[in-house]
Amino acid sequence: MPITTAEQLKTRRQQAKSNDQAVKRRVLVCAGTGCVANGSLKVFDALEDEAKKAGVTVSFELDKHEDAYMAASGCHGFCQMGPLVHILPDDILYTKVKVDDAAEIVEETLKSGNVVERLLYVDPKSQQPKKGRNDIPFYAGQTRIALKRCGEVDPESLDAYFASGGLEGLEKALFEMTPDRVIEEVLNSGLRGRGGGGFPTGLKWKFARQAKGDHKYVICNGDEGDPGAFMDRSLMEGDPFSVLEGMAIAAYAIDATKGYIYVRQEYPLAIKRLEKAIATLREEGLLGENILGTGFSFDVIIKMGAGAFVCGEETALIHSVEGKRGEPRPRPPFPAQSGAFGMPTIINNVETLSNLGSILSKGADWFASFGTESSKGTKVFALTGKINSTGLVEVAMGTTIRKIVEDIGGGVLNGKQLKGVQMGGPSGGCVPASHADIEIDFESLKSVGAMMGSGGMVVMDEDNCMVDVAKFFMDFIQRESCGKCVPCRIGTKRMLGILTNICEGKYKPEELDEVIAKLEDIGTVTIDASLCGLGQTAPNPVLSTLRWFRHEYEAHIRDHRCPAKACKPFLRYAIDPDKCRGCSLCAKRCPANAITGEKKKPHVIDQDKCVMCGACATNCKFEAVIITS
């Protein structure tokens, strides 16, 4: 039956909470994209089957009380160790679980309450197995506000959302606060846009509230295009109701009646979960006409993106929603004045919206107690690259990069040296290891030439060539430049051309100063003259690597050498006669027929014929190919 009054909402929530408390044992299997790719849904089925065989009764709904409650949850964040199975209240986290492990988990843990030690996470530093989240540094170092339900609840269950405080924020807004008061609260919380720009959320809302229009729109920007960032996807998959609650609060504040969620088509699971959540809220009367009898009406439609990075920019996104090419336009007018279909529109990022329920229910002061002077609250980062624990981490603003990499992330892969951390994706910059102790907030990152962006954090080690990384981002941006404005279209193309020439050794040593000056010049002009955020930030990876890793550029141009041994044209391949077993696999794989030698005797590479493709090194099973630069 639909919930139509505040009274019914309270009763329903109370019931959900008491059902939740009555759960004896909870088994949460991670069903985020990473774990599903690793077979977690099969693990879920196997656990169910084994439980049945062992006589352990299982329920999938909170209101049915059995020996255990099982749920396929959203992303637990600890993607490196997936598939993950978390068991509560014991707080046992099983990692890399396979179908064959299900019987033992049921027998040992669900029946007898014992721990299956071989499935526990082993801390790489102490080599000690760690039982649960509370003992694992990856989790212990985090502060979870946006991600608080991610991995903790069944994302498709409204009761689970209620039980964890869901809709308390919207309820408070609708029954205790005027729209202006809501905006004031969000302003006081200090919440700034989590999509990259860091514009104060409350201020954006204030402008849209003041603007006049027949309708107003709330758009959720789920077009998470930064390669290597997946926090928005995990939120939409793992806690879709919180995104929708945030949108409803925003709609109430600015007096909007319609909302769009713009999601990448590459995120089919997120789309499915959002569709389900919207349908559930409509059935329960929590989306649609006259919500909870307050006269407030709001409904949400999903718009699937079609693969264009520039659509993360708000005016381009609006064009795409309208069915046009996703090209940006000059601002003003800002979307808050004239947005979708010419009406006042606010566009907020997924993570921003996920914070709102908690901000309203717990208060602005509570939220503002986390973070730094200028940047309040927490930020979710997608920690990837050369790191031991790839995953999703949420930390209070002001946490240092070193703490995230060393403590939470467990350090650089294979014990190598940290070279730098690329923050903020293709629009961001690279923070060198020497600045790893800066406390992360919007301003501090800008001061070192990087930016918050959406929160991508790619760890680089000594084997990553920074010129190659700059080239990688420029290649991406150049392809994604929509072509509407000249500085971005041509600037990115020219910078990519220069970077490619550098990596291929096409410049003469005496051209060093000229080449670098040209790069800096084109970069500066592209920043100053481009129409939208894409072009205005496109040169950042180049300029920040030039600032912190200029010696690598110099080595490439002046010495024709790649210090990280990553750029193939500068490499020399030779075979170590002591290690070579003469299997002649390299000779077979060599496309240039440059390798000769008798069977079972050391082979030799003819340097005149070698095309530096590296096929020999990739294929050698004995690590006998020596690479030098």
Binding site: A37, D226, P227, G305, G307, G326, T384, G385, V469, E480
Partner: protein, 153 residues
């Protein structure tokens, strides 16, 4: 009713804001966007075919050639790049003799590149015929192609 008409019937005529969902629906049905399909969509939505083509080519998600029986999708996200996805892509190009966006002559494999699959924990990651392969090394690709074909037959 043909696949295209089936999709069109779900939307009111002359609604330009539905153009992208229509293109997505038709591609889902037909596997790619043909010239005829784009003419028909333009007629239905009430915009010239040139505009339909303009919108379709703007977005990476649309294909204009049929996909192979086993589409190979290679993630070129940052996490995959720093863990060696370029070498994986090159290995597939060499093995199949096609470039991203193309399909092998026998129609079995097509090669696609995406900005990020979002499974960074498995980097470098690829999908072949919808099946995910993580921590892929260039040396493994022959085995992967063989395995997928065996399972498909």
């Amino acid at each position: 009713m043909s696949g295209i008409e089936n999709v069109l019937s779900q939307y009111p005529p002359r609604s330009q804001d539905k153009l992208i969902p229509i293109l997505q629906g038709v591609q889902e049905e037909e596997g790619f966007l043909s010239k005829q399909a784009m003419y028909r969509i333009g007629e239905y939505v009430g915009v010239p075919a040139s505009k339909v083509y303009g919108v379709a080519t703007f977005y990476n998600g649309f294909r204009f050639k049929p996909r192979g029986k086993y589409p190979i999708v290679i993630c070129r996200g940052t996490a995959c790049h720093v863990r060696g996805s370029l070498a994986v892509l090159e290995a597939f190009q060499d093995e199949l003799g096609i470039k991203p966006g193309d399909t092998t002559e026998d129609g079995r494999f097509s090669l696609e590149v995406v900005a990020c699959i979002g499974a960074c924990g498995l980097a470098p990651v690829i999908t072949v015929g919808g099946e995910v392969f993580g921590e892929v090394k260039p040396g493994q690709i022959k085995k992967i192609l063989k395995q997928v074909q065996q399972e498909g037959e």
